[in-house]
Symmetry: C2
Subunit: 223 residues, 2 copies
């Protein structure tokens, strides 16, 4: 059975890759940067997105695509920031795919957008496998999850360009070794940027904002 699944998976991933490319071409035509944000359930993706919107509002036109199996809880929170939000309910699927993102992009005013933030489904596994057409993949790993996660979920940590270590405000209450964690990430992905942050208190977010600002500039300078 395993060989059979593998073949199906490769076909699905291949078709998805093609659609992801088309999405990126569409974004490039409009000089829009798109970022795929991934993590386990409850690691703080929504809080990071809200902090980021607050910081960039007024100078960068942001839209958000929210991925969830069910509910619009996160989309409702984000939409309070008065920016366009598209909710995708995957109805059981453990990740977003390029097709879903295409439909979301079709519902956004692209000529009035600079940055699209995608909040993927809460999952450290499947989400890393499916290209969406995003220019950057980033992930959050929250302190309560433990510092051994790079060894257990290597693909995610290999794919992410930025790893935000979130919830550092609760570091005193958990056995989490930030330097051991950083070493494990660097072993898998030597160029990954690692930012310890608290999306709740705002601590440590400056390097993330700078990184994002540079990425936006790089994209708009190709206009």
């Amino acid at each position: 059975m395993s060989v059979k699944i593998l073949t199906i998976k490769e076909d699905i991933l291949g078709a998805n890759e093609e659609k992801a490319k088309t999405n990126q071409e569409l974004l490039d035509k409009h000089h829009i940067l798109m970022i795929n944000i991934m993590s386990s359930p409850g690691a703080g993706k929504t809080s990071l997105i809200i902090q980021t919107i607050k910081r960039f509002k007024g100078k960068t036109r942001i839209a958000v695509i929210e991925g969830d199996i069910a509910s619009t809880i996160d989309a409702d929170k984000v939409s309070k920031q008065a920016i366009p939000v598209i909710q995708i309910n995957t109805v059981g699927a453990c990740h977003l795919d390029a097709n879903m993102i295409k439909k979301a992009l079709d519902n956004l005013a692209l000529e009035q957008t600079d940055l699209v933030l995608i909040e993927n489904v809460g999952n450290l596994i499947c989400t890393a496998e499916f290209a969406l057409g995003a220019h950057k993949k980033i992930m959050l790993l929250s302190v309560p999850e433990g510092d051994d996660k790079p060894y257990k979920y290597p693909l995610m940590f290999t794919e992410a360009e930025v790893v935000l270590v979130n919830k550092i405000d609760v570091l005193p209450y958990f056995d989490f070794n930030v330097s051991a964690f950083s070493k494990a990430v660097s072993g898998l992905n030597p160029t990954a940027r690692i930012f310890p942050v608290s999306a709740k208190t705002g601590e440590g977010l400056e390097p993330w904002f700078s990184w994002l600002e540079d990425a936006i500039k790089q994209k708009t300078s190709t206009a």
Copy 2:
């Protein structure tokens, strides 16, 4: 594309269901209780298993099956308890399946086993879909993940017979409303037992141990 995936998925799930039944028949023949333990990454499955082994050691012969995409970190921890541990590395797959469990059972001395604890891959989505042949499905939701998870991952909360709210030792540092959470779980799954615990400090574990003891008795009384 979505319809095509669905068909494939149904075929896979159907074939898996058959194998799960065969697993359960094998266990029943040996009067063994098997429990499938599921959660997000880092919610505390391994710690719960270790606490459970410590409590039941001497009176119940326990074996553990550890599921991970990669690494033997958890199996190494559990094997320090001097009980049989089988590690399954799924090499990318986001859940265990009945076939993997069959192979693990073939490597256990079943006539010397009363209880098999399965630590599934860290994932709130895919793991809930695949029957393994376990008599009971239980899950952990840790306080840092947030109390809104039943709305976002309904299948897992519908399938679990017991929901352990883990890491209650850090409740003061998080906005987690235990009664709102319990209400959400009961809405999906009225008969689910909800036990607030700390697998780290041991707080609140008695009701879980009692539940497990009853389940073991029920199984061995059918001997």
